[in-house]
């Protein structure tokens, strides 16, 4: 069974702080690593994604760091805002395998 292990399960960050969510995968055939953001009562939506040919991708306040040798990737949210409060899912796919989602991280940013 392919897994993507995500931590922490929940996270509380002060406004303006940095939120960090980590994921680890097992299957070296995976070659696409998206992060999804889900607000309460809504479906997940793609936030940012990375492929293993780069070690970092930044879009605004959101950055993915990717460590291919360690089979780990993480989401950093800089200058976290209350509007960032949501559940974040990492995922992995590639090599013909189905997309595997992490268990999710509930982020709460305190004003």
């Amino acid at each position: 069974q392919q897994q993507v292990k995500q931590s922490p399960q929940s996270l509380i960050v002060q406004k303006g702080g940095i939120s960090i969510i980590n994921c680890a995968y097992e299957n070296t055939a995976f070659d696409y690593f998206p992060w999804y953001q889900q607000f309460p009562g809504k479906g997940p939506a793609l936030l940012i994604a990375i492929r293993p040919d780069v070690s970092e991708k930044k879009e605004g306040r959101f950055t993915i760091s990717f460590n291919k040798s360690a089979k780990q990737f993480s989401l950093h949210i800089m200058d976290s805002q209350p509007g960032d409060s949501a559940t974040y899912f990492c995922a992995a796919n590639g090599g013909g395998f189905k997309t595997i989602f992490g268990a999710g991280t509930r982020l709460f940013v305190k004003a």
Binding site: G41, G43, A45, L46, N93, K98
Partner: protein
Amino acid sequence: NAGVTQTPKFRILKIGQSMTLQCTQDMNHNYMYWYRQDPGMGLKLIYYSVGAGITDKGEVPNGYNVSRSTTEDFPLRLELAAPSQTSVYFCASSLTWGDTQYFGPGTRLTVL
């Protein structure tokens, strides 16, 4: 572009009843998926389809059935509802296998 739409938004079923969750996408995506999300848990794949007429089981298919007669529609059928099927159900679609998935707003189902 409406994207992925799901109906109904909410439903309460009695044990043993059946129902169909509807899913429609207007992006001409070949790939469609059904997931369930239990509280505090991730997304579990129930069934998926790679095109009209082709479906396959995911991780948790027991108690569910699907059909895909058109590119746009991918209904999920619950037969003999059980309390264990209380969950939020999401339909999603993607252009290619392994591509970004676009999710619908979900159906919250309670089985009592």
